[in-house]
């Protein structure tokens, strides 16, 4: 155990952890929203993220941004991010909504038992991952190097890189926007109402199918944004099975914060990202994933409902 190493690299490990945790948090929103409304773990959500990542990659390739190119000048970087986020969020949202329509809605109309939903979710996840796997020959694809990570400002021992600032800022903005939408808008109230009591919501005139569509749409959009952020990190590689581990961690983050709770997803994501990176400092890179899940299991022993514990319905502004 390398305590000195952890202390020495503490600022860097923390910032890297927050950066990765922010991406977990954005993906975790999709799990949490769908769970809040349907009490369903949408295991296919990891593939929603993966498809967003490929959508951005293919769009960039189509536009002539190629791997190993020189770091792009600011103008074309911004353009690439703009078209990339539209492609990723669009493809992810479309995927999420299609999964709902094709896989889950028919089960709902037949009042299928929860186990049928669970198997369908796992099945949908495999179909999407394997489908892209066949199409891409199961090869990893490096992302074009759009942004050279560099330190943009320093506070004591804390060196903030441009990618860290972008990822964390975008995540916080997306979170605030979503939180406001859910707590203040009419449709957001509809989402909370269905999460709290579906039958009574119907008595208020809430169209449940529309609310379900909306949560899959929002979850997909957020996963798309996460995919784009992932792509601009220096580790960004697209592969057909990339969703699996990130999806699992995002799901863990959602459970850690309290599944069904939007703010819990943010807290859980950031906490998981930071803990993982401290583990890297303490025990070495090999222990990263190990520690994340040990943390989850231990925390659930003491707080079975997660850190913030409440449902989406009860989450208040």
């Amino acid at each position: 155990m390398d305590v000195a190493g952890l202390l020495r690299d503490f600022p860097e490990l923390t910032l890297t952890g927050l950066e990765q945790g922010a991406i977990y948090a954005l993906v975790a929103l999709g799990y949490t929203l769908v769970y809040g409304v349907l009490k369903l773990i949408n295991f296919a959500h990891s593939e929603v993220f993966m498809i967003g990542s490929f959508a951005a990659l293919w769009t960039w390739q189509g536009l002539g941004f190629v791997y190993d190119a020189e770091a792009a000048p600011l103008g074309s970087f911004l353009l690439a991010v703009l078209v990339g986020v539209i492609a990723a969020a669009g493809a992810s949202a479309l995927t999420a909504v299609t999964i709902e329509r094709v896989a889950y809605r028919p089960l709902r109309k037949r009042n299928a038992p929860p186990l049928a939903f669970l198997i369908t979710a796992i099945g949908a996840s495999f179909v999407l991952a394997e489908g892209i796997g066949v199409y891409t020959h199961r090869a990893p694809y490096g992302m074009p190097r759009l942004l050279q990570p560099e330190v943009v400002f320093q506070l004591g021992g804390w060196k903030f890189t441009n990618t860290q600032l972008i990822v964390i800022t975008v995540t916080l903005l997306a979170m605030v926007a979503l939180d406001q939408f859910v707590s203040r808008s009419r449709l957001g109230r509809g989402i909370r109402a269905v999460a709290q009591d579906p039958d009574t919501s119907a008595l208020m005139g809430v169209n449940k199918d529309r609310v379900i569509f909306l949560v899959f749409l929002i979850g997909g959009l957020m996963a798309g944004v996460a995919a784009l952020l992932w792509n601009i990190l220096p580790i960004g590689v697209a592969k057909f099975n990339m969703g699996f581990l990130i999806g699992l961690k995002a799901f863990a983050a959602a459970v850690l914060g309290g599944i069904g709770n939007l703010r819990g997803a943010l807290l859980g994501g950031l906490l998981l990202g930071v803990a993982e990176n401290y583990a890297v400092g303490l025990f070495g890179t090999d222990w990263k994933d190990f520690v994340g899940f040990v943390l989850l299991v231990v925390l659930l022993m003491f707080r079975p409902t997660g850190l913030l514990g409440e449902s989406l319905g009860r989450a208040r502004a």
């Binding site: 109230r189 009574t200 008595l203 208020m204």
Partner: protein
């Protein structure tokens, strides 16, 4: 007739809960549906609102068959319900719950006016606008559920056990308010175990026993009916 139910059957799986009931509610009336636990009163209300499908028969509202209409569309047509066990959204404030009642409406000014009307009927709610419903007393939640149903500005108001779990003084009060709402022009279909109160305030009433309507008449007729007295009014 505002509401006409003909030979309606409702089943839970293979078990039939309503065996073909027929009833009508005329515009401007207070009609109550009384009966023991498990007679099918709540099932009837849920079927009218569309959250329980019909196995047979039909429901007509303002002459149109709504038997197959989605629950949320029925609210738009003018049917609102305050469900059994209050069913307030526990994590929402009083204001948010009332706003949920007006979910299908877009007329901001009208919604604000109706909210003030609800506060007029239930001054208690006006004092607790920002309180989360889950932390309020049973009586307050009951008022909120009734007020919330009014926020839809319904033509037909369905009230399922509005007096359940309330202190005797509050029961009087809630029935007074039901009459007041009715006098403001809202038709009311009321499900009650408190038969005495319900019958004395209703124009007409139906008696439901194990999924069948066994008796109907004006409120006064049923109050004086000896078999009703025995079974529901607790007087020998």
């Amino acid at each position: 007739m505002l509401l006409e139910i003909e030979n309606m059957t409702v089943a839970y799986g293979r078990i039939e809960a309503l065996h073909g009931i027929s009833l009508t509610v005329g515009e401007g009336e207070i009609v109550s549906l009384i009966g023991a636990n498990g007679a099918g009163k709540t099932t009837t209300m849920r079927a009218i609102s569309g959250i329980r499908p019909l196995a047979g028969g039909s429901i007509r509202f303002e002459g149109e068959d709504i038997s197959k209409l989605r629950a949320d569309r029925r609210v738009v047509q003018g049917i609102a319900q305050s469900p059994e066990g209050r069913g307030c959204f526990p994590g929402m404030t009083v204001v948010e719950n009332l706003e949920m009642g007006a979910y299908t409406r877009r007329d901001k000014a009208g919604i604000t006016a109706d909210m003030n009307r609800v506060y007029g009927l239930f001054p208690r709610l006006a004092e607790r606008k920002k309180q989360v419903a889950g932390t309020m007393s049973g009586g307050e939640q009951q008022m909120l559920a009734v007020g919330r149903a009014l926020m839809a500005r319904p033509k037909l108001l369905l009230l399922d056990e509005p007096s359940m779990g309330l202190a005797p003084m509050l029961i009087q009060q809630i029935f007074d308010i039901i009459v007041e709402i009715n006098q403001q022009g809202v038709t009311v279909l009321l499900v009650e175990q408190n038969a005495q109160q319900a019958l004395s305030r209703s124009h007409r009433a139906y008696v439901l026993e194990t999924g069948r309507i066994v008796k109907s008449g004006t409120g006064q007729e049923l109050l004086n009916d000896s078999s009703i007295k025995d079974a529901y009014l607790g007087v020998a």
